[in-house]
Amino acid sequence: MNRAAEAGATVAAGVAVLALGVLVWSVFSRGVHALNWSFFTKGPAVFGQTGGGVAPALVGTGLLVAIATAMALPFGVLTAIYVSEFAPRRIAEQIRLWLDVLNGFPSIVIGVFVFALAVKTNVPVFGWGHHQSAIAGGFALAVIMLPLVARATMEVLTLVPNQLREASYALGVSKWQTVLRVVLPTAFGGILTGTTLAIARAAGETAPLLFTCSLAGQLIDTNITHSMTSIPLTIFQYSEAPDPALHEQAWALAFVLIAFVLVASVAARVLLDRSRKKLGLQR
């Protein structure tokens, strides 16, 4: 029985690791071929021609993620500060609960929400409303990033030793100065880690962009009140196209996306280790 169970667990683990390995390997082996200079710098080929690239999608994803981070980071960090430094315990618990609920919402529902809020609405304000735009898409991604950033920040704020806060108060420093000059700098590495992971997640999301920021032209567009294409959406559209050349580009884009996501999570890991060490030394 013992032998059988051990063998079973090993085989199951092997099968699963193999499946994941096959997935990553097929993306890497197929994607690498289509990578060249014009892939990164040119727009899609005109109908009937070969070649072409995906520059608009790369620029689009960069802009969307920047917008989303600009919205989600301050709100996430401020929410975390409130929960761990100010809020009474019961309110803190409630906020945590609702952030978890928000994190559990399917991303397509968030897409529908932003569509109803920003795209269908009749009053255009600052280029917001009545049509798809990078702002709307970025907002949808921000809603996905918010609970991730907030929860990660909360966790690292609770790791900041209380002695640091007490030492600061004992020197007569006020609460806001303590939070901004002692607590936040100590927790900085952890916040950066959480944000990096959230960015990696947002960069790969397709569903929220489907109705909020998907109709786009063939050129690089940096006007954020316009709709623009993005890496995941392009993969989605190319994968259903009949043209094998587009499949190849989809693989190459998937390669770029996976590489970005993996690099981001390795970076996050390194940052986390460093900040843990820093906190450990100060304790």
């Binding site: 994941l20 919402f105 397509i108 989605f236 998937a254």
Partner: protein, 325 residues
């Protein structure tokens, strides 16, 4: 935080700088407002989705849930087969992923030599960040043809006498089965890395104690390791289930987007999220849009229930741990 509640001597209070009082108030106000907005977003999502679905709710009522036709041409909409499709694909994926994830967790925490524990564990954790659209791309171009050529005929040659594994003459690429496999691959990294952390967290004394009492490794796992983190494992599985229920892109790429549902899982089907992703842009009438949002509302309710369930399990588990230790 404790120190803040220590009473300030009266003499000091008056000398506190004006700037500090403003700063404290300002920071408190800012952070409280941000928290309020974060919570309000949840409310806004529920409200907006409910409002968008209202025309369809008024027209079809609750009957929407058990009516099957989803036809933009005749403006008759119902969600039955989509709900069934969602549940079948998600629970099918969980049925495959749960034992595999627990096995991976056990392998990486108890069996594997230390040299491969770390790297493989890290690798699996990083794979949970692979975007669903990439898994969908692989699913549609690699997995689906492979399934149609090899896996599905093979499985149905054994199990074909059971209607749900029946296989027609054609080799169909986009099937419910392929969607189940894609979802399984999507959730395994999430659930297995949580399981691994849970198993690692079991105190060594407990494990060593049972080994010292003469238990084999399997008996130790069965009677000590798994029971002591049961709640966490269940919560991890429900978390994976929530992910599977709401996945739109990867599923809509491989499932074939077809209703009415057939009995066999080797036929095309569709899910709530997949249907929304597929038809939203081409929606022909206001009622069609509202019906799609109604689907989103149903999905919201299902995932909400799954979430709350997971949290209650975790709470009970923590309570048991605190009380039982």
């Amino acid at each position: 935080m404790e120190a803040a509640s220590v009473p300030t001597p009266a003499g000091l209070r008056r000398t506190r700088r004006f700037g500090d009082r403003v700063g404290d108030g300002l920071l408190y106000g800012l952070t409280a407002a941000a928290s309020l907005i974060a919570v309000l977003i949840v409310a806004a999502i529920i409200w907006r989705v409910g409002e968008g679905a209202w025309p369809a709710m008024r027209t079809f009522g609750l009957g929407f849930i058990w009516h099957n036709e989803f036809n933009p041409v005749t403006s008759k909409f119902g969600a039955r087969d989509l709900i069934i499709g969602t549940l079948v694909t998600s629970f099918g994926a969980i049925l495959l992923a749960a034992p595999l994830s627990i096995a991976i967790g056990l392998f990486l925490s108890e069996l594997a030599p230390p040299a491969i524990r770390g790297p493989v564990g890290t690798l699996i954790e990083m794979l949970s960040a692979v975007p669903s659209v990439v898994i969908g791309l692989w699913g549609i171009l690699v997995l689906a043809p492979f399934d149609a050529q090899h896996v599905q005929p093979f499985l149905s040659s054994f199990l074909g006498w059971i209607p749900i594994f029946a296989h027609g003459q054609d080799k169909i690429e986009s099937t419910i089965f392929t969607a189940i496999v894609v979802l399984t691959i999507m959730i395994i990294p999430i659930t297995s890395s949580i399981c691994r952390e849970l198993f690692i967290g079991v105190p060594d004394e407990l494990e060593e104690g049972s080994i010292a009492l003469g238990a084999t490794r399997w008996e130790m796992v069965k009677s000590v390791v798994v029971p002591s983190v049961r709640g966490g494992v269940v919560a991890a599985i429900i978390l994976g289930l929530g992910r599977a229920l709401g996945e739109a892109i990867a599923v809509s790429m491989v499932i074939g987007n077809f209703t009415p549902l057939k009995l066999s899982i080797f036929e095309p089907g569709d899910t709530l999220a997949g249907r929304i992703a597929n038809q939203y842009q081409g929606a022909v009438s206001n009622l069609h849009v509202a019906s799609l949002i109604y689907l989103a509302f149903i999905l919201l309710v299902i995932t909400f229930i799954a979430n709350v369930l997971a949290q209650r399990v975790v709470k009970r588990f923590e309570f048991q741990r605190a009380g039982g230790a």
